[in-house]
Point group: C2
Chain length 285, copies 2
């Protein structure tokens, strides 16, 4: 793809990894990094994640073709308002937030041309945060959801989706509403459950926890502030997911009886077959 | 340790791995394998998991020092009754079942000298079952719980615990009641939850599942029959664990409000700190 100037606002794990990947995969692309801390920007320059650093959002987006919001979601509104007056008419804006309804709404309110905004959710990350955890291959074979609106400019959507594909991602397009609803089931509730599973253990039961427990609760070690923001932003859907989990608990409790042994086995076997199908070749697991 | 003859009843993943490990780590130890299918026994001989194979439980335990029950838990009662008349007075019997109250009770009823029985739960395994998945290093750095009773012969306990340590395991001793209660929290409920998380997904949300979901639900791919037996055998404790999880759900639902943002963050941060402490060096994670 041809991209002469890319602006990354926020150079933590995701922003830094985007810079590393873009600089190695898109020739002739200058990467401008914005951050509010000099040390982080210096480190990003040192690691080769960005070509140019600035503490000024306006300067960061001047003359750029693609802007990627990669600050914590809680800062999106302020940053969008700061850059809005300085975007060229051709600039396309996207983000890396884990929820999409609220970001799309913010962009519609803040940007002069909301049709050039495309919501994105690259599903990559890790327990470690910050620029020092950034890697050029963070997005390889991962999934990226894009959430265009009916009014979204097709050329903006094309630019954003091409960009994620060049970083190695598989792109899935869906509405912001569907995104937030499905992610509550597939990501936000699982994260909460991992935290609950840890929280409910006694020190004695934790002592007996094995590999299965460790695998199941690994995501609970993630950043509490980041997850609080995601869960509150998507609270309505997370509540619905909790209700669906409660229905499963009711169902399983009714099966925990000797005379329901066959039905319990069918329940477990069905889930096992579904889970095994997930790790089919070619799919990240 | 000195062990001239070891009998493994049931040569699947666990029984086969015990044979492989014992044959490589205990010199001069003859390993006798019992199974009810000739093909499995032939494969165990071929892989070097056992020295001698027999379809007769009585023959399998004749003149042996240590008997390990490694059939599915559902066959323990029959096998215990079959071997009871043929055990030498010095023979020690143990098992590898995932629940302990019921096995200890069965042994007390079936064996001529229950003081020579020691319940064991080596926490090792994997999604794959059967002799072909057996490995000599399956138990390396894993945990093994032993559940002696007040009347258990100390020399029998010493033999069993030494055996697991030679296989590379860290041994933890606790009562059958404590074992089953703690395991319901740390293993049985987590397994059920993994199945529920898979069962509640729509095909659309499954499509968006990432690495976190895959990690969290990996154990749901396990054998449904095996897990049904564990869950039914420990149903009372699993119900208590479900009640504790419901209390966590109530708590978290109350925190899913903007005015509870700080409390939600504290909840997530506390769980994250506990989880991070789990993966400290030297601990399997």
């Amino acid at each position: 793809m041809s991209l002469s100037r890319l602006s990354i606002l926020g150079v933590g794990l995701l922003g830094g990894s985007i810079g590393l990947a873009a600089r190695s995969r898109i020739s002739g692309c200058q990467v401008v990094g914005y951050g509010h801390r000099t040390e982080t920007l210096d480190r990003a320059l040192q690691l080769g994640a960005i070509d140019v650093a600035t503490l000024d959002p306006a300067e960061a987006v001047s003359g750029t073709e693609l802007v990627i919001l990669a600050t914590p979601v809680g800062r999106f509104e302020r940053v969008l308002n700061q850059i809005a007056p300085h975007l060229s008419s051709a600039a396309v804006v996207t983000d890396v937030g884990s929820t999409k309804r609220s970001v799309v709404q913010l962009a519609e309110q803040a940007l002069p041309n909301p049709a050039r905004f495309v919501g994105s959710h690259p599903m990559a990350g890790g327990e470690r945060a910050g620029i020092d955890a950034a890697r050029a291959d963070l997005f390889d074979r991962a999934m990226c959801m894009t959430t265009p609106m009916p009014q979204t400019d097709p050329t903006a959507l094309e630019l954003v989706e091409s960009f994620w594909r060049i970083l190695g991602m598989r792109v899935i397009r869906l509405s912001p509403e569907d995104h937030d609803r499905h992610l509550a089931d597939a990501s936000h509730l699982p994260h909460l459950l991992a935290s609950m599973l840890v929280a409910m253990q006694s020190s004695d039961s934790l002592e007996l926890a094995g590999k299965g427990f460790a695998d199941m609760t690994r995501i609970a070690a993630g950043d509490g502030g980041l997850w609080r923001d995601i869960l509150l932003d998507n609270a309505d859907n997370v509540r619905d997911s909790i209700a669906r989990l409660r229905a499963q608990l009711d169902c399983v409790e009714a099966l925990l009886r000797p005379d329901q042994a066959d039905a319990l086995r069918t329940y477990l076997d069905t889930a096992a077959a579904t889970r095994r199908a997930l790790s089919s070749p070619g799919r990240e697991s």
